[in-house]
Symmetry: C5
Subunit: 351 residues, 5 copies
């Protein structure tokens, strides 16, 4: 799962990109707004970026897509006086979700999960979010616009985002990411339900592999959501002055969502463990049935074959062979033996 | 399990109904009472509702059945100055049970469980409950009157509900919902006991499916009751002035009930896991028995059949075939072999 | 397990008996004592009971046996000003053990476990205990005198009970109930040890049922003891003025006993899970052995039988049949095949 | 495991011996020392013991071996003013390890584990330890000198024990007992490693019994060490004036040892559970192999035997029997069938 | 795993080496630096070591490699006034990772894990680290320079280490050790992925052993990392004046790394448990398939062989034998029986 790793022994706070470079060029989307106005620019030129913090009563939002260019990240860091550890975390895509308060702002690492319908797989993208009064910075490697719904609300002035400050924007962006978890949960749930139907109807060779795959997927989602819940919890309980009173109940609501997602994930895990047990039960049950068929057939015919073999012997003196109705008597005996065994199995409820 | 989901990217606090519309028309039951008087009206006209907060020393209880009409919910919200997040939660039927204190009142999400005797299934209904001094609002989608027993107590003046305020009514409604969990528990217990008898007598193909179904049911009930317990705990420990001293011991009692229910659910889960183990043991034991029968029969007759086959060969020179009592001697040998094997199995306690 | 249930929708605090009526008549044992004197009366007349709180420096202990008569319970409640929820809990025999402080006294729900040697089963009886300065009330349904040893100590003046107050009596009664748990533990331990011997010697059909029964018993005992421990913990930590300084170390000692019992119960649970694993291992091992026997026999004789069958064919032209020593050569070959297979199995350590 | 039990219903604080009497006579080893001097006496006369607390600046250590003589214990209790519950705990050998502070001293219950090389079993002995300024009392039933190394350090003046007070002696004695746990752990570890080798090489009938025995042993050791850790934790965190500042870091070090032992025990438990899984895997794997051999042999010879049987029939009109090369053709067909099946099994990787 | 153990009964604080002596001579690397200068000396003469604390504004770092020479350790202890328990811990290589504050400095026990590519095994080395203002001491037994990257940063002046004090050096050394855990994790992950591919393609005899080995490895890594996380947590939360404000966020970052490692280890454990389940499922599934083949072949041929045997009997009077087309009719019957059974198995989805 892990690809590149920070080189061992580099000084702490070194800005070293540890993910897969997904894009060629870095894009920076800049949006400046308040209740009355908004302005947007998009730059994708590495060299001549304009970065500044507007000193007016506006929220500045820089959305940086492409974090493999560590020099650029350091330029941004210098421009906005970010702590070296923030920069190191931004480009280290192996981070756990976390919430940290620095002297001049609040820093969040979040994981965006997205269910890719085509590949039937879960995409993960690390989002770093920094905000302080009047400034929000977001960082991701991929170009996909994960924050489109929020951006649209800013354009249209719908919702409260234009009326509120940087803390509310940060909340709205986090909320938007958490919303995507529900889609992932629905996709997993659907897969679990398909698997369950399979298992109850006709468990085959692939079922055990599928259970294992789903279990691993759940473990991976859990690994994102568990620390995310913790981070959002600290976000919601922080008494940092940057988080305004009016935003607190929204963040608390977001926290409720993360708990709900965690509940569902644990629920899925329990259901999957149940399916594992069901699969083992099913296989055991089938083996028992196969064994019963084998035993019934063998047990009925083995004595009969013995009798047939007995009278197939070539001894000179075997009186029965010369009896007039010997053959028919034997057939009758065979029938009685078979019938007796069948009755015995019936009583044992073997069929 | 989940049906409709809040559209991703909608602004937080959007009032979007996420459940299944179960009823055509919204009904609003209005009840106004104090120790001396009570008055009741039922409205089911969408358009011309009368909503107001009586300023006298009375408790107003609006019981809204039908929450798919989000415009109406917003009208109610405006009339009683409810926080936008409350309205969003009221119509989002995927909420976890929770307890929240707002500036102008206390808000609870509860889950009503009801065992449907006919369908042999558990019905779930989300109940939102808001109260402040003199006002109680309850919201549900279905028309079924879940609160009938409380309503009757108000009519008859039995119990303490008429003497007390909105906080006691809120408690009484929650208590009434929790009471229904016991019925659900009894139904589950009965199913577990039937299953247990089945397993000990004759475990068959359907048993493993039934265990799995019950486990899933338990997981689902647990998902309702665990956060409910937490919500009631916070209800019982809240020092909000809206909750009067005299109600506290009642709410604490309600909390005890939720713990007791949780205990029973965990108990059932343990018993079900025990049944799962029992099923596997049972199947293993039966396979072992089947194997023993197979092995006994095969082991006795295979050597005998070999002997019979031996003397069925057509070699020209086989002296035994010409002995006078060759056949009878062989029969004797066969008997001894069989008896020896039977004794050996006896000593091995295989039957 | 549950028998009658409080009717759903009855007002909270309703005094409704939910257990099985075990006795015809209610008996009330009244004991009044201090360090110098004691006096005892027993009443079993429903109608003309004398109830009063002696105002002297004495401890009054009313031991009520028979709680199905809810009217009587309410009379007692009125006489001693008990909170309505106390009365409701006294007659609801489905309560969890708990410790509650009310304004005018302390209320405990306890479970008495008793091992019935005859039925080889555990009897459960709910004991409600209320005490305040100079007054102790105990309630149970059955007539059996669970508190006999304490009563005898009062008669004889042995131990400290006569020198101390109501709080010490309450402690002594609880301690007496907890003592009986040890007997139950011993009985369970004995059953586990018998089962273990069975499993290691000759696991049979009944073993898995016995493991399941014991597991269920343990779950049930655990359900009593876990909340009991919690209740006694709160008892021992309470700073209520009713509990005198000198009694605290005794109650702490009682708390140690409940922890020890809980430890033992958890210990038994682990041992039982170990037995379950042992049973499954044992069955698997036996099946493996049975399979080996089957395989050895079959593998040796099937090729031999084939050879015998081959020379039992009736082709006109089978040169071997006419060789002088054909038969003896074949016997030799058969012996070599059998010996080779036996050696092969030996090397594979199959026997 | 439990032998005698405190008689139910005896007053709390009754001094009743509940263990097995292991020795005839009680021995009391008395040691009095300070940095400059020491004096030792050993008494084993029941009747004429000399007990006193030296009032000089010395540490008095009474090491009582033999606690079945409850009268003597009470005499000691009276001499040193011990609380009745301390005396009851000293003679009740079923106690959990615990740490308790009384008004006039600190009381510890500890369990000494010792691995008996000869019996290959773990011996347990309960040690009760009471200390206050200038006085240490230790109680055990067995005569074995568990504290020899400490005693020797006192004689020789090595280590700090002679320079320090009663609290350090108490610590040194507890530390000495905890040291023995490491020997027990080493013995268990060795047994686990032997078992592991057995399982990987040749799991047989006895392995499952051994796993079960070791699991039970671990459960029992855990039962001693878990409360011991807790007791030592409370010892290390106590702010009782009897424990001097300079001893605290030693006790904290002792606490670290108990954590380390607990870690190892949990570690062993996990390893044993892994061995259990390994055993089941191994048995399953072997059964699968046995089944494959059986299936291969049967599947190859059963069709061949059928063919042989076919041409062993005695029908008058069977043209094949009269073909010149019928027999050899059939042998060829049989060879082809067998070869085909062998190839099929090869492809299925069955051998 | 444990080799030598502190002799039981030695006084606490005894300096006794408990590991394996890995090197002949002790080496002491001494490094003295500040922002402007640095000086380095290496001594490996046991007898004539120069030890002193430079009183200038410099950081002194003594890196002691070889701790079996307990006399030397005591000399170092005396020189720098280390507490006896520190010295005892330095040479006891069985310590748990821990963080302890002493009066004159902070003491850490850490475990260095290193994946040895050649032996495909994890090496463990215990590192003891003591620091106070201007002094850092590190102790290990092996000569391998685990701190090379930090040393290089000091030479080159890269990173912040030269600008900062002893606390930052201590942090940088700990961080350097923790970095190596990632390499170990990567190696384990690779092994797990190889094993997973094996299991899904062709589970064989060695798989169960490999799962068991990996589980044990994980348990061992967990045993190092769990207390390490705890120690680093206490390091990051300590308010000791020795840890400067500016270092705190770095230590907090290190703590985040330990949590992340712990998460991964737990994750691996869950995945391994999943593999164990998968293996059992796989074996069960294969046995079921083998059984089906066996049952199909046996069930088809056993009745046919019986029929062949029947007409191989030598009764004088068996009319069928004399029918003109008896043989061919029988062949037809046999074909029908076989076809019917094949159809039946098809319907049962056995192949």
């Amino acid at each position: 799962m892990r690809k590149t790793r920070k080189k061992i022994g580099t000084p702490p706070g070194s800005v070293i990109f540890t993910g897969n470079q997904k894009v060629e060029k870095v894009q920076i989307h800049y949006l400046k707004y308040n209740a009355n106005q908004f302005e947007e620019t998009t730059q994708d030129n590495h060299t001549a970026l304009t970065l500044h913090e507007s000193k007016e009563e506006l929220v500045d939002w820089y959305d940086v897509r492409g974090i493999h260019d560590t020099e650029l990240i350091q330029t941004i860091g210098n421009t906005f006086q970010l702590h070296p550890l923030i920069l190191a975390d931004v480009v280290d895509t192996q981070q756990r979700p976390k919430f940290e308060e620095y002297e001049n702002g609040i820093f969040l690492i979040l994981k965006a999960l997205n269910f890719d319908q085509e590949k039937q797989a879960i995409d993960r993208e690390q989002i770093a979010l920094f905000f302080r009064e009047g400034l929000v910075l977001t960082f991701q490697e991929d170009h996909t616009d994960l924050f489109e719904p929020v951006r649209k609300r800013i354009y249209s002035g719908k919702g409260k985002v234009r009326q509120k400050g940087a803390d509310y924007l940060a909340y709205a962006l986090a909320d938007n990411l958490v919303d995507h978890y529900y889609v992932v949960l629905d996709a997993i749930e659907e897969q679990i339900e398909l698997l369950e139907d399979d298992l109850l109807e006709n468990p085959d060779s692939s079922s055990k592999g599928k259970i294992h795959q789903l279990k691993k997927e759940i473990i991976r989602v859990r690994k994102s959501i568990a620390p995310l819940r913790e981070a959002i919890s600290r976000f919601s309980k922080s008494d940092n002055a940057l988080i305004k009173e009016s935003s607190v109940s929204y963040i608390r609501d977001l926290y409720d969502h993360t708990i709900q997602i965690m509940d569902s994930v644990d629920n899925f895990r329990d259901v999957l463990n149940g399916l594992q047990d069901l699969y083992i039960s099913e296989i055991s049950f089938r083996m028992n049935q196969v064994m019963q068929v084998l035993t019934i057939i063998t047990t009925i015919f083995v004595p009969l074959s013995f009798l047939a073999g007995l009278y197939g012997m070539n001894f000179e003196h075997m009186p029965e062979l010369h009896f007039r109705y010997g053959y028919f008597v034997l057939l009758g005996v065979m029938f009685l033996v078979a019938a007796g065994l069948v009755l015995w199995f019936k009583r044992k409820r073997w069929f």
